[in-house]
């Protein structure tokens, strides 16, 4: 998995909790092209800890001179967003992974209906210029609780088809009515909290939208949990996974090679066989089939409770 060494060239707050970061090549070389919806892994060295978080690219894909991301500060998380807000300085060189797209537009759609909850608007910011250039029909519905959270409004291109819904002003999004009015061939894309995504999916499916026309993205940041012990049978080593550490991070810290891609439980690359389970696995991914959960685990996000988990690494 190659990554780019990029320099942080801009850091500006867009709203009380959301800050935009811009990265450019240190020698002004052209950056690899990407498709709207793609994200990059940002590596953060915080003393002893190494964080890796995925952030959607928000810049116009046709801007080959820089990559921009928007980070919402999460006070209760594992520290990645706090690092970005508090510890980064203009001029710092950081390790940025190549763009990967797990939330791509379906280019066969007749119309793209984009629904964003708060900071979930980020992937749409890169997709809208692309849609406009293709001459594709689209509509963005941007829902926030309070007006000051509308961090993305100034970033949208002039003439963008946007509808704003501010909950505190009594202008909530009427999902059912919106979905019922869409022409044949519309695809729905939702990037928001788990609750809002679930509501949108249920409403769409209840109205008769087929699964393939409904897309959602929600990065599962590996949530902290209890520490646990894992025996890596292929390496013949037993590791302790810390409360704030994911199983994948523990494997990497121990030098045990494990393939990975999204680090958010969505892509399947880190899928690992479970050889023995003296306890129970907490599956937190979106990848494994129910039948696979007895014998496989996604180390990037899932955890274990009990005496000992044995895996094939």
């Amino acid at each position: 998995m190659t990554s780019l060494q990029l320099k942080l060239t801009r850091k500006d707050p867009l709203s009380p909790r959301i800050t935009r970061f811009r990265f450019e090549h240190p020698r002004a070389a052209e950056l690899p092209a990407f498709s709207g919806g793609a994200h990059v892994m940002v590596e953060m060295r915080d003393g002893e800890r190494l964080h890796r978080n995925a952030y959607s690219l928000i810049s116009d894909p046709s801007d080959r001179t820089g990559y921009e991301i928007a980070v919402q500060r999460e006070d209760g998380g594992r520290g990645g967003s706090r690092f970005m807000h508090g510890q980064t300085r203009i001029g710092m060189v950081m390790n940025i992974g190549l763009p990967v797209n797990l939330f791509a537009l379906d280019l066969t759609a007749r119309k793209h209906l984009l629904i964003a909850g708060g900071v979930g608007v980020t992937p749409f910011l890169a997709q809208i210029p692309q849609l406009a250039r293709l001459g594709a029909a689209y509509e963005l519905h941007y829902a926030v609780r309070r007006r000051e959270e509308l961090a993305a409004l100034p970033l949208l291109p002039a003439g963008a088809a946007v509808h704003v819904h501010v909950g505190a002003e009594g202008r909530r999004l009427d999902l059912a009515a919106l979905l019922a009015a869409q022409p044949l061939g519309t695809h729905l894309y939702v990037c928001a909290s788990e609750r809002m995504i679930r509501a949108a999916r249920e409403t769409a499916l209840a109205q008769g939208w087929p699964q393939e026309a409904v897309h959602s993205e929600q990065f599962l940041a590996p949530a902290p949990g209890e520490p646990f012990e894992v025996h890596c049978a292929a390496s013949d080593r037993t590791l302790s996974v810390g409360a704030e550490q994911s199983l994948l991070e523990a494997l990497e810290a121990a030098g045990i090679e494990t393939p990975w891609l999204c680090r958010g439980g969505a892509c399947g690359q880190c899928e690992t066989a479970v050889l023995a389970c003296d306890g129970s696995i907490e599956h937190r991914d979106h990848w494994l089939e129910p039948a696979e959960r007895a014998s496989r685990i996604m180390p990037c996000v899932s955890r274990f409770r009990g005496r000992l988990l044995t895996i094939d690494r």
Binding site: M1, T2, P32, A33, F34, S35, G37, A38, P61, L98, P99, V100, N101, A104, D106, L107, T108, Q130, R133, L134, E212, L261, C267, G268, Q269
Partner: protein, 346 residues
Amino acid sequence: MTMTFNSETFRGDYSYRNSPAAIRRFPFPFDRDSYMYSVNMEPHRGGPAGSVFERRFDVDEHYIAEMEDRAITLSRDPGRCQSLPHMTLAGWDLLELIMRSKAEDYPELFELHRDGDRWHWTNRPLGIEDSFTFLDDATLPCGPMEYITRQTQGDFALLDQRDGNLWMDAGMVTSQADWSLDFDIGMNFFEWHAPVPRAAEMGIFQRALKFLLNIGQDNPARRLNWTMTVNPRLDTSPETYPEWGPEKRMLTRGNVGERQFLRVELQSFWRLPRSNALAFPIRCYLCSLQDLATVPKWGRRLHRVIRDLPEDLAAYKGFAVNRRLIVDYLAGFDDGLPTSPGIFPD
């Protein structure tokens, strides 16, 4: 590096010939004395100097002749090159990938100058010099995929990635092993592979699809596939089957060495950045049995592979009717000695 290009035909008088150098670099596909399907992928990241694996898009002595044959096939049947409307962006991605790769890997043959989105492309072997605006369809004489694949050896399929699957939504297909782009365009990974015997039961396609969906911009992959063809004919499409079908029945003990060809596909898989599609080049190499047998290891091994291949695979790979002739001919090159592992000559 000076390259000479053959003047030869892939139809009619079939004047196609491989030089001794071309024979030695031929991608013989069997690494052991038997064959069964596998997801035999490896990173497409260079290879031994002079081999077909070394460059991203291999150019060889057959380049000009292959492009002329493609032009003939397209003039007779334009339906061999099709692109569903949403795939034009992927076509531009492919054009960039091929132009940049070939200009870097073969600077004496190809040149690319970019000034923002104003590009200037020089193709010396084909005598082409064109200026155009990248991403502006109106500045090219035809769609970007067609434009660049008329100048690149091998067939190309562009696969749209959506709904957890890959969809064959565009292609330039003039050297295929008996499948129709016009019929298959719009099919997903499992549908277009439907005619392949046995592989579905082996779960091969599920594993292959999962691998392909996760290919990223920095890690293209490649694999080899093979069939057999009578005469060095590139256009072995179902559409023209009435033309090349009868040729299959013209083999004799006297001509099988010269007229039976092993046809190897070097397939590669590339993530395209702006469209998020997957490019799937299928590069075809042809070598006659008698030329292959000049490499002792290959003569021994090919005999054993073809002799022991299950009947349904022989039928699917198109040579069941000539199998007896082929095996008898190759037996003359198999003295029973052991063969070294791997595909390269000793």
